[in-house]
Amino acid sequence: MIRLENVYKTYPDGTEAVKDLNLEISKGEFCVFLGPSGCGKTTSMKMINRLISLTSGKIYVDDKDIMSFNPNELRRNIGYAIQNIGLFPHLTVWENIATVPMLKKWSKQKQLDRAEELLELVGMDPSVFMYRYPSELSGGQQQRVGVARSLGADPDILLMDEPFGAIDPITRSKLQDEFLKIQAKIKKTIAFVTHDIEEAIKMGDKIALMKAGRLVQYDDPATLLTYPKDEFVRNFVGADRVLKGLRLYKAKDVMKEPPVTVKIDEDPARVKKRMEESNTKWSMVTDEKDRFIGWIASDDIKGSKSIKEIYKPPTVTAGPDTPLNEALSMMINSTIGTLAILDEDGKMLGVLSFDIIRDMLGQEESEQQKETKASGEKS
């Protein structure tokens, strides 16, 4: 747990980088410091491990004042990863990862084991990478080693300053996904700095939005998107905040039962009739084992052609955990406008369509209106 109380930072040159910051990050929570460049995110974060001294105020880690620790001891118990990575070029990958264990004087064998374990955790093959040097890694791999290194001595708290900032968008997105999976396993208390709203929404349990050294809003991503506190927040999250909000939902949260499903060996004429009755243009086709294999259009059912001959294999499908924003863009790209949600075995779980998403957003909207009305009446 991390708690900041009335924290101020004024640099020697007079810059007031952080003003009256109050904030609590609960145990196991992923907190993102978000805001435009220069708003004081890095400063706030570095005060936690005392890389930057506080001008006034208190910071507590697990209810202990950080000033009561020796700064080096404090830092050895807080993981630290930065945008420029800062891997030690003269040390091998494993030596880099084992830096803090080494500082804590673990035995060599324990250090090696830990490095191996962490390499595996970040998805790199230890037998390939343990003895490489940083300059022999790609940017994305260096970043992974940076993350592994910050986890070196299994600290409860992680500080990460734009750790995925310096890599290409595709790799970044992959690393974000992987890191979320890792976090689900290790449940660290994380302070994560970014200026990228998309990243904040994707990664954070909570977002601390800052402006010119002050905390403007501290909420979970959905609340931040739906109830921006003021004009600054509204502008910062952007006019497409509804679309951004879709990221917070998963396909399984909103998908519906398909109205009509068709077995591959069914009689085409009966299928046509059923589809006309329920007024559906496309229905899903499943094989003998109930696995989804494609779509069939009622217009295509003519004469004696069997379903097998006329169904169309799907262009895209999604899983239950696909975020809605991705699902929506898949739907826009597909010809059908309906998306099949499948489990790992290819069994059908449900469907998503534009109508379903619109309905869901409509509900959100009306709930929001109700609430704002209610709060308006109260005041």
Binding site: I82, G86, L87, F88, E136
Partner: protein
């Protein structure tokens, strides 16, 4: 491989010429230097260079390092400026002034040599430590290394090749400066060369010049090897990569 061929050929040449010249024994009315003298002066030469270099390293590396500390940020540009200008000052001027101030002889030579040798060491130490990526230092500190640990585990290993390159340059220059110091009566191989020039017997000059050249080449390659051995492997890999690009 071919490098070693060139190196070896030159060494054989210079050492061979030295032996040849010593074997002549007599040119006209002049006796050549006896072998014992050549060996003695070679050792003396090494002594002068070694003494000056040892003091230069002992003072130059710490000074260069301290100059990189934040507290020194107003002093260090002046220091580095002096080191740079000092290096453009010709060696003969250094030797001459040292001889004039301290009296001609061994002592003046070592003082002049050590001051002159210190300049590239200060400069390279300063540049080497300053060139360490700030992100690397920040990461080290952020993971809980103490100041001393950041210095010993990160800054010095990364700056080491550059520091040794400075030591190498200064040693090689020193071999030459020590020869010039023969003119102010410091002894060493310079004395043989100077004598030869003074009496206009080129054989005598060559008898001193050839071993001096050999000495410089040997020390240069030796220190080149040291530099190579003490460069962390990770840095070598990095350099190779940069070359390939």
């Amino acid at each position: 491989m071919r490098r070693y061929v060139i190196l070896f050929t030159l060494l054989v040449l210079f050492v061979g010429v030295t032996i040849w010249m010593t074997a002549i024994q007599q040119v006209g009315m002049f006796k050549m230097f006896p072998p014992g003298k050549v060996v003695r002066e070679t050792i003396k030469h090494l002594q002068i260079v070694g003494a000056a270099e040892a003091i230069a390293i002992g003072i130059g590396v710490p000074v260069g390092f301290i100059a990189t500390r934040r507290a020194m940020r107003f002093v260090s540009p002046v220091l580095v400026g002096i080191a740079n200008v000092g290096q453009t000052v010709p060696t003969l001027a250094f030797i001459g002034i040292a001889g004039a101030v301290l009296g001609m002889g061994y002592r003046a030579a070592v003082v002049a040599l050590f001051i002159y040798a210190m300049l590239p060491i200060i400069r390279n130490t300063y540049a080497g430590i300053n060139s360490v990526d700030p992100a690397v230092k920040e990461a080290a500190q952020g993971m809980g290394m103490s100041r001393a640990q950041v210095t010993w585990r990160v800054e010095l290993p990364l700056a080491r090749p550059v520091i040794i390159a400075g030591i190498r340059t200064s040693t090689v220059v020193n071999v030459g400066t020590a020869a010039v110091a023969g003119m102010i009566g410091a002894g060493g191989l310079g004395e043989l060369i100077v004598t030869g020039i003074a009496v206009r017997v080129t054989q005598l000059t060559v008898q001193g010049a050839a071993p001096t050249a050999a000495l410089a080449i040997i020390l240069d390659s030796l220190l080149g090897e040291v530099e190579n051995v003490l460069t962390p492997r990770g840095l070598k890999v990095m350099k190779e990569k940069q070359w390939q690009q």
